[in-house]
């Protein structure tokens, strides 16, 4: 028997054992599960927000480091400046995470709102970790060698 005309595995966390093989969790029996209000498309930008901060950190740190080396800034000054820029980005990324995590998805948005909310929270978490791992330890290295 074919399975549903639905995506593979959408909402798999809630899939019950009673469901058919490889049938993704479906909507409520009534059909549509989109909620009473549409999730505004602008909320999708939040999916990119965390990693947008990561990109910004890369651009600013790489550029600032190059400028500092070209203009022969003192190592201490350069390192401190880089550390401050790094810290600012970590704080912004962490704020995005906290902001997303503490907000409760509007019930009127239905399962779609739930999905977008979860994805935003986890991309924010991934971005915070990526920002710390990618840009933190390198700041301990010699600056312009």
């Amino acid at each position: 028997v074919s399975a549903a005309r639905q995506p593979h595995g959408a909402n798999s966390a809630r899939r019950g054992a009673a469901q058919r093989p490889h049938s993704p969790p479906g909507p409520p029996a009534s059909g549509d599960h989109a909620g009473t209000r549409a999730v505004p498309p602008r909320l999708l930008w939040w999916l990119a927000a965390g990693f947008g901060v990561w990109c910004s950190a890369l651009v600013f740190l790489y550029a600032l480091h190059a400028i500092g080396c070209v203009f022969a800034w003192r190592p201490g000054t350069l390192r401190l400046t880089l550390a401050l820029v790094f810290l600012a980005h970590v704080l912004v990324a962490a704020w995005i995470w906290r902001n997303a995590a503490k907000s409760v998805p509007d019930a009127a948005f239905g399962q779609t709102g739930n999905f977008v909310h979860t994805a935003v929270v986890w991309t924010a978490i991934a971005a915070v970790v990526a920002t710390i791992v990618t840009f933190g330890p390198p700041l301990l290295l010699a600056t312009c060698i």
């Binding site: 074919s2 005309r5 490889h22 479906g26 999730v39 999708l44 550029a63 480091h65 330890p137 290295l141």
Partner: protein
Amino acid sequence: MSESIEQPPPVSTALRLHRQLVAIWATGPGLQRLAAVNHSVIGLRMMITSFTFFAIGGVLGMLTRVQLATPNAAFMDAETYNQVFTMHGSMMLFLFAIPMVESFAVYLTPKILGTRDFAFPRLTAYGYWCYLFGATILTVSLLAGVAPNGGWFMYTPLSSNVYTPGVNADVWLLGVTFVEISALSLAMEIVVSILKMRAPGMSLDRMPIFAWYILVTAMMMIVAFPPLILGSILLEIERAFGLPFFDPTRGGDALLWQHLFWLFGHPDVYIIFLPMAAVLSTIIPVFANRALVGYRAIVVAIIALAFLSFGIWVHHMFTVGIPHLALAFFSAGSAIVAVPTAVQIFAWLATLAHGKPRWDLPMLYVFGFFFVFVLGGLTGVMLAIVPFDWQAHDTYFVVAHMHYVVGGALAFPMLAGLYYWLPLLTGRTAVQRLSTLAFWLVFIGFNMTFFMMHLTGLLGMPRRIYTYHGDEAWNGLNLLSSVGGFIMTIGFALVVIDLVVQVRYGRRVRRDPWRAPTLEWAMPIPPQAYAFASIPHVGAETDRAAGQIALSLARGEGYLGFARNGWQETLGVHMTTGKPDQLIVLPQPTYLPLVTALVTAVAVLALLFKLYLLSLAAVLVIAGLFVFAAQRSGHARDYGPMPVGRGISVPPHTEVAGAPPFLALICTLIADGTLFTSLLFGTFYLWIAAPNWPGSVAPDPSRALALGAAAALALAAVAARKSLRALASGRHAQGWVGLGMLALLAAIVMVARLIAGVMPHPSDHALGATAAALLGYVAVHAGIGLLFLVSNTLRLRAGFVSQRRLLDMRLTRLWLDYTLVTGVIALVLVLALPTLVNLLGGRA
């Protein structure tokens, strides 16, 4: 697989509807095939074309293996070898890999989304023709003995005029740019279609994982390709007109090319991988007989992967002399990019572990993928570590790694996907024995060929050498590698034979032979031009068995289950919820894409043969053709909401704010903005890193002209807003449109005068060249703005724009706003150049 014969729909309603829709959607016979715009036709053509270039690229690869099988081989001389390996790499990456993944996306995405076609069918066709012509130019150059010979990444200064004085490098720069225009246009098409043209009810959380992958990939393409397009344009300008962007003796920097190339090149690996991961994420659950584990985790992982892949391009440049601290950013990024990749691999393994897997042909290739890709991933992590990379850089170890990740990530899932969807394409199934033998030959041959390269690389064999002495301990490994290459080729030849046999003699299969859950199987196989006789509603009712829903759709019981006005109709939906919000009427077959692509080819060839005036004329004709194409779009009168079935009425796309063209323009501006940002990066990079700065002549741009140009651009933007408001309130807008035209003309004249006065002269020093490039960017955008306004005027007169149909004016407003913002940034930077140069002087 089941072997029963497809049963014809039992109801005559279905047949009648089928005939009506075929009359509207089908491409005509004979020469009319050249007018095809349908995604099924174009997708299939693209697939066949890309496989043709795969075959040619494969033969070139085999030639290199013949040459390297033994030491001191005289099979090819150095120059021929250079052309052959360069074309092998270029073809495999630009003419096969990218177009092939796109062909999968073009053919399958609308079907999987439950819609009838892409948003811009003429753009699909234009993209295909551009690809075909660009690829043909590159291939013919090989036959003419003037093929590119500087390696597939065309590093400067080797590819500059001094070291490559012939047309070889020009062929690459122009041919590849031509192909990339095609890729970009298709990427925009895909993004808009996935966001706006899904089956009603297919909210984002119910979107098949395939669509998520393709959406993210297409977005990556929009951002990844512009840096290389910019690099190619700048290098071609340097070669043709002597502007020294990459010439260190005149203030340029050869490393700028490497940055621009790898800003594209590294994400490109993921642009190739992600669609193949989409194939795997679609196939594995079907054969595991359960839903994909970790749908949400995978969505998060591919978003993370997309971003991370853009931040690690410098790992291709670890040996160029960048300070350790900066290298460490990219080293760490290159290592952690393995995490989101691993999330997907573990999700696939978990799906198999928790399901009840059945073994069938596509799963053989899935197994092959796991083996090869994990090996390639591990060597990737090794190369991400700077000290190891310093040892292995430019050796065959890197060649081995690259083939494992790109070849493995591409070839095995591609063949898995091909065998999986072949029943959809042909209505027939594969001959199992031949297919299985072919797999093992490909698998054994692949590993034999490329695993040996790890070892030759670690033994110090540099890449790209055309021969070796024989006393380096590489002989046996190279011979084995070459033998493996031939075994792999025999395997691929068997695949081709298998496919031909299948098409001719394969057993017919019923609809949905794999019992898959995605919508492409809910249609007759092979698919018709209209794809779905009526569009499904994704919800509880689609939980029914495939046959039931397919027959119901064939009877017209979904949306748009009828023919109206001879229109090619499909539905536009809300981006997140999938609720229908507009009726989209698509253009019918036309020769316009072919003609436009032919003129584009003339422009490219004229550049190649240094016939610059002819090239300029061709560009103007292309602009005219685009304006002409716009004249035939949309409706010449207001319709208001129209019934689309199931008791719902929606307005046509020309009468709503969120129409696909508006989203497409946003995508275009994102690509354009990336190109502009790359240009800014190039300017600052040269300022900070290039030798011989400052030059002997100080820049002295005219502030009056710059301010005048900025003011004219601002006036044009204001006029666009005023014209939109005037129309929205029922007044005439022609006056404002005319004012906008005058303002843009004034801006172009002033910017042209600024370019004429650039100091130092653009051909003397990179400082002048970058200033001219920035100003040229402004002039080109003002010129395109002018085209928008010309089109507005024509369409206002023809009645295509009204108080309710404001799309044209909204597009113009957006374009002119963008032109104003980028124009002001470019002009300010040009004015700031003297200060920047003084800063450098202070440093000295």
